[in-house]
């Protein structure tokens, strides 16, 4: 049974760009052999919800106020294609921890 990764994607409105990056990140994480459960929030909601501890990995296109124990990765590169490999390798590293 593959491990399920609880992914949180964060953007300004919690709808448009987070949906875009969540899709791409999910496909990538699935390609590594995991299952993915993804959710989208805006930064204010994220600041409250991340400390509750249900997320394994957080990706964002808008910075999230606060410091957290969960790995948090800037995923804007998934939208533009610039630095996309970097984002993927950061995701991979975070999951291997």
């Amino acid at each position: 049974m593959a491990k399920t990764i609880n992914l949180l994607a964060v953007c300004g409105s919690g709808t448009v760009s987070s949906t875009m990056v969540a899709e791409k990140a999910s496909s990538y994480i699935e390609s590594l052999g995991y299952n993915v459960n993804s959710q989208e929030l805006n930064p204010q909601q994220a600041s409250v919800r991340i400390p509750e501890g249900q997320f394994d990995l957080v990706i964002y296109t808008s910075p999230i106020p606060g410091t957290f124990e969960v790995p948090i990765i800037n995923a804007t590169g998934l939208l533009t294609g610039i630095g996309e490999e970097q984002v993927y390798s950061e995701i991979k590293q975070a999951l291997e921890k």
Binding site: C11, G12, S13, T15, V16, S17, T19, M20, E23, K24, P43, Y60, T61, S62, P63, N74, T76, L78, L79, T80, G81, I82, E84
Partner: protein
């Protein structure tokens, strides 16, 4: 991909404020957004910028919270003179934007396919430049093969 003749603005020589006003007027007239859209859009762009430097030309995806939107749609604006935006996720970086995609989202899942295609377009090595230089904006946008 849902591009439409009534959701295009072409040959614009405007600043960012004028661009937002023109887009808001059009989207309002076509029934995609509420009166509150312009101020919601403007405020959101200040806090959460939407400029994206792609491998080819700079683009932007201005949008705001679903409560200001009546129905899903994407308005495309081609800018004769690039307009400077801040980069998404990094307010220190400026992007010269040549094409702006105003994404009206009601927050549902119906738009997912469009967002996915848009992202592929941004990462295509030729398409954005082709669109920017094209004679017919609509025809070129619609030539995108999903």
């Amino acid at each position: 991909m849902r591009f439409a003749k009534e959701l295009l603005l072409d040959d614009l020589k405007v600043n960012k404020q004028e661009l937002f006003k023109k887009a808001a007027d059009k989207l309002c007239k076509e029934g995609f957004v509420k009166e509150s859209y312009l101020s919601a859009l403007t405020n959101r762009e200040k806090v959460f910028p939407t400029g994206l430097q792609t491998k080819t030309i700079g683009v932007a995806i201005p949008h705001c919270d679903p409560e200001n939107v009546k129905k899903d749609g994407i308005l495309v604006a081609r800018l004769k003179q690039p307009v400077q935006f801040n980069q998404m996720g990094d307010a220190e970086t400026k992007v010269n934007v040549y094409l702006a995609f105003f994404i009206c989202s009601t927050g549902g899942n119906e738009q997912l396919a469009d967002l996915r295609e848009l992202m592929k377009m941004f990462q295509d090595k030729d398409f954005l430049t082709t669109v920017y230089k094209s004679e017919s904006l609509l025809k070129t946008l619609l030539s995108w093969k999903e």
